[in-house]
């Protein structure tokens, strides 16, 4: 008790509170802007803490780290663009709600869930302090593998109305995650000699393309985010908060998922997000189906991803093993302030540890309240014309993607993944399953080989491993049974011919994967990719057969059929919208390379707004100027970094 009072007294000092609040605001900005994650921002903030005392330093750093997952839902709900990788699961139902005019309700639900989750995570951390070290030592490497395998079994739940497609999508995601230099044999897998691909596909870029770009096409077709003209009010927001409170058992369960899995190294925020989402979708409750604007689909991932921060501090504090990527940066701050992770943090420096708990809790509350206050303004964006929004969002996606590696490949990749995402969206290949496969693939492979090298196959007999693998198998079996029962009663389905083309292409891709893996890679580097590619071949081949059969005996598209899951029949000439979005990306990418990111932003936003049919040139210029300033403030001032010289500058230099 004394310790808690000491910690409160230490934190109550004005300078430390100020640092906490500054950290929160920095974190909110970082979360909103796609492309820069909390990871990068934390690395930037660390040098600023050199001359602070440890309380102030950790208040600043944790304040920032705790709330990026609160504000990253703003672009996710409004535009379907995840502000950071932790918001991808929120896109599905959050953005669907915004389309129906429920943006304010989605915001209210997500912020309040974030707040409760964050405070819950802090409490878990506090409760873990006395038992932290034995707890972390209890989990062995095979347990980590079993946790990942259990996570992957959630794919079965995410697979949607056409389960074969869901399974194939998950395998495709996993296959994509194996690109790059593998960690077991140290050889290149499918990187085609490109240094860019050595470290694999950057996850933030993949999520931006997969979720962000496809939604823009339908936004363009609809004309504004929200279909109807209902004005957003605070009433919607309060309804969202009531939703969260009514669903309190779900909030607590997902917070527990977030904080416990957050403590497992290798299970990042992108994984636990989907696990929470999958968990919630088992019992959809009243209201629309999952993927079509069910508020539980917003509450679940949001409470989980904010609870993670507290959980991932557990192994960091106890052993100096980072529970997440941003925690490894936080460890740098430990060293700078002369702190040694381990028993000291629970004894001599226990007051500081408790102050971290307080920082996380307070930051989550301040962050959520700030966002709630902004809700009405933000929700109004849902009625702004798409002609203005689309160029703006494209700019943030493309420039955000570019700053990942500052390479032209960044553009190429985000557009390529965007095109894949568009195809998946139109043809009902669930992107959620792809994501889960993509984020779990590397951990699954790595933990498997670690466990195998350490104890052969005997680890399969460990009790926790048995329980987790048993649960995973039971989940898959239960889901399969329900698919078999539901056979034949599928709702509306996407057009047949493009679907056959897509599944045949995937079959060939899988086959090529199997062959190249077997021929080119040494055994230990080949086994996971080969099995994954083999399953991809199988599932997509079965899909092809199924679709062909459907084609042979056509069912008249009855009026009563409702779409299920993430997929909805597109509401217009989807191909044209998608091509327009890709064309816009291409134009902006070219402009950035030619004239640099600031000039390009201005020209592109002004030109884009004008081209998409805005009447007032003055407004186009004003919006463009504002966007340019915004990009400058975020990518040059806040995250100061060297941008490659544009071609034009090189041309001028030559003379």
């Amino acid at each position: 008790m004394d310790l808690i009072l000491t910690a409160i007294a230490e934190m109550a000092q004005p300078f430390r509170m100020l640092m906490l609040v500054i950290g929160v605001f920095a974190g909110l900005v970082v979360g909103v802007v796609p492309g820069i994650g909390g990871l990068f921002a934390m690395a930037l903030l660390i040098p600023m803490t050199y001359n602070m005392d440890p309380y102030a330093a950790f208040a600043l750093l944790l304040g920032m780290g705790s709330v990026t997952t609160t504000s990253d839902t703003i672009p996710a709900i409004l535009f379907g663009v995840p502000g950071s990788v932790g918001a991808a699961a929120t896109v599905l139902d959050g953005h669907a709600m915004a389309k129906k005019g429920e943006a304010a309700r989605a915001f209210g639900a997500s912020y309040s869930a974030s707040m409760i989750g964050g405070v819950f995570g802090a409490l878990v951390l506090a409760a873990a302090i006395p038992v932290m070290r034995p707890l972390v030592l209890y989990l062995k490497t095979p347990d980590f593998f079993a946790i990942c395998a259990f996570g992957l079994s959630i794919v079965a739940i995410l697979a949607g109305s056409q389960p074969l497609k869901g399974l194939a999508a998950a395998m495709l995601g996993m296959l994509a995650s194996f690109i790059g230099i593998d960690s077991i044999a140290g050889i290149e897998r499918w990187s085609f000699g490109q240094i860019y691909l050595w470290d694999g596909l950057p996850i933030s870029l993949v999520f931006l393309g997969l979720f962000g770009l496809p939604e823009l096409a339908s936004l363009l077709l609809r004309g504004s985010i929200q279909g109807n003209a209902e004005r957003p009010t605070y009433a919607g927001m309060w309804q969202g908060i009531r939703d969260t409170l009514r669903e309190w058992p779900l909030v607590l369960r997902c917070s527990a998922i977030g904080s416990l899995l957050g403590a497992v190294p290798g299970i990042g925020i992108a994984v636990l997000d989907w696990i929470a989402y999958g968990h919630a979708s088992r019992r959809p409750g009243p209201g629309p189906k999952f993927g079509q604007g069910n508020v539980r689909g917003v509450i679940a991932p949001e409470s989980a991803n904010n609870a993670k921060e507290g959980g991932s501090l557990i192994p960091t504090i106890a052993f100096g093993v980072p529970g997440s990527a941003s925690m490894s940066i936080l460890l740098g701050a430990f060293v700078i302030h002369g702190l040694v992770p381990g028993p000291d943090m629970l004894g001599k420096n226990a007051a500081l540890t408790i102050s971290m708990v307080l920082s996380i809790a307070v930051a989550n509350i301040v962050g959520a309240v700030t966002c709630l206050l902004l809700t009405r303004q933000l929700a109004r964006i849902a009625q702004v014309s798409a002609a203005i929004l689309v160029p703006l969002v494209v700019t943030f996606i493309v420039v955000g993607a570019y700053q990942t590696n500052m390479s032209a490949f960044d553009f190429l990749l985000v557009m390529l993944v965007g095109a894949v995402g568009m195809g998946m969206k139109e043809l009902n290949w669930p992107r959620s399953a792809f994501s889960l496969g993509f984020v779990l693939g590397p951990s699954l492979e790595n933990y498997f080989f670690l466990a195998y090298q350490i104890s052969g196959w005997s680890w399969l007999k460990q009790p926790l491993v048995l329980i987790l693998l048993g649960l995973a198998i039971a989940g898959v079996v239960r889901q399969t049974v329900s698919w078999i029962k539901a056979r034949g009663s599928t709702g509306a389905l996407p057009p047949v011919l493009p679907d056959i083309a897509a599944s045949s292409a995937l079959t060939l891709l899988g086959l090529a994967g199997v062959i190249t893996a077997m021929l080119d890679f040494p055994f230990e580097a080949a086994i996971f990719p080969a099995i994954t590619a083999g399953l991809l071949t199988l599932f997509s081949l079965l899909t092809t057969v199924q679709t062909v059969l459907r084609w042979r005996k056509p069912v008249s598209p009855g009026a009563g059929m409702t779409p299920a899951g993430e997929w909805q029949p597109s509401d217009g000439p989807a191909l044209k919208g998608n091509l327009t979005v890709l064309g816009l990306c291409l134009a902006l990418a070219f402009l950035v390379l030619l004239a640099g990111h600031l000039a390009a932003t201005f020209v592109f936003v002004a030109g884009g707004i004008w081209m998409l049919g805005s009447r007032s040139p003055k407004m186009a210029l004003a919006v463009a100027a504002g966007a340019t300033l915004c990009i400058y403030a975020v990518f040059d001032l806040l995250a100061s970094q060297p941008w490659p010289a544009p071609w034009l500058a090189g041309l001028f230099k030559a003379f």
């Binding site: 990871l39 990068f40 934390m42 690395a43 660390i46 040098p47 050199y50 972390v136 030592l137 062995k140 490497t141 230099i181 960690s183 077991i184 044999a185 140290g186 290149e188 240094i195 050595w198 470290d199 190294p265 290798g266 192994p315 052993f319 100096g320 093993v321 980072p322 990527a325 490894s328 940066i329 936080l330 460890l331 740098g332 060293v335 700078i336 002369g338 040694v340 992770p341 381990g342 590696n405 790595n446 080989f449 670690l450 090298q453 350490i454 104890s455 100061s640 970094q641 060297p642 030559a654 003379f655």
Partner: protein
């Protein structure tokens, strides 16, 4: 139209003439320098680079602003290849890469296909021996048990120092232990040691260790300068060629955390960078700032000395290189 060309042509002629004719300015002047770091944000290389970025500018003509950019990938091999291939060689970009990069083309010619002698060394911060350690609970507490027993040694990737030194000790001394790869970092390996899943690790410097000393045994050292009590591992290698190969690999320990400039950077520019680096590492403000990075013992090496060391080591015969590849297999 023609008159435009008529006017522009002489202008172009003069401009291009002046561009060709003017030799680069005699005194080297730096504008903005980017230090690219071959590892992710927050790690040891990142921290020392950000430390250098705060101070190096003061010692360079033109007092340039220095910024840090992370280019992580394959234990800095990615950045090294970029430095050799595509970074501007005008002093505007320098890089912080692994010291092991100078023999990467020898150990892994397929991936590291560049000329190691082309790298221009600016200086390095640390000169520290590395160790093989085991946990107390493993019961492996003497060199003899280390050589004779069956147990597991943890390592990160195949190209990491944790693997290279574990393999060097195993192959050089014909030890029987197995090397487990795939851990996330040294802290991860330490935790597995505590859980009792593996017995120890190799190639770590003493300052990296987070666990308390009472829980570990120091089995042997690599490189000179270790405390006299612990046996040198490469000294026990009998075959002279293998011994020389081990020496080549160990020599990198003297030039830990180096900075390099791209090949083709003008000599004046490299000299100015080296001079500034040497002045910086003895500067009181720099040293005071460095103490904030924890118990990091700085013992810098100048760029000239690194170049000599690298050139010397790379003069070895192909047989030594082949032996080196065998040692780290």
């Amino acid at each position: 139209m023609r008159w435009i060309f008529g006017r522009l042509l002489p202008l172009f002629a003069v401009a291009s003439l002046s561009w060709v004719a003017c030799p680069p300015a005699q005194a080297v002047e730096f504008q903005t320098i980017t230090i690219k770091v071959g590892y992710g944000a927050g790690g040891g290389y990142d921290q020392t680079s950000r430390l250098i970025a705060r101070h190096l500018g003061r010692f360079l003509p033109g007092n340039p602003n220095i910024i840090v950019q992370n280019v992580p990938g394959s234990g800095s091999l990615k950045l090294t290849k970029m430095v050799v291939g595509s970074e501007p060689a005008d002093g505007s970009v320098i890089a912080s890469v692994s010291e092991a990069m100078f023999y990467a083309p020898i150990l892994d010619p397929e991936n590291a296909n560049f000329d190691p002698l082309a790298l221009q060394w600016i200086g390095s911060l640390i000169n520290d021996p590395a160790y093989c350690l085991t946990s107390k609970q493993s019961g492996i507490d003497t060199m003899e048990k280390f050589l004779q027993s069956d147990f597991l040694i943890g390592a990160t990737g195949k190209n990491s120092t944790t693997y290279i030194f574990a393999a060097l000790a195993k192959n050089g001394m014909k030890a029987r232990y197995k090397i487990v790869t795939g851990f996330d970092g040294t802290a991860d390996i330490e935790l597995a040691m505590r859980r009792g899943e593996i017995a120890g690790m190799c190639g770590v410097s003493s300052s990296l260790l987070r666990s308390d000393r009472a829980a570990i045994n120091i089995i042997g050292t690599f490189g000179q300068g270790g405390s006299g009590a612990t046996p040198s591992i490469s000294a026990t290698i009998a075959d002279p060629t293998a011994r020389q190969a081990a020496d080549l690999i160990e020599s990198a320990l003297h030039i830990h955390h180096p900075l390099i400039a791209p090949p083709g950077t003008p000599k004046e520019t490299v000299d100015a960078l080296r001079k500034a680096y040497s002045a910086m590492v003895v500067d009181a403000d720099f040293l005071a700032d460095a103490t904030k990075l924890g118990d990091l013992t700085l013992n810098p090496t100048s760029g000239e000395a690194i170049s000599q060391l690298v050139a010397q080591q790379l003069k070895a015969t192909p047989a030594v290189f082949a032996a080196a590849r065998e040692l780290v297999k």
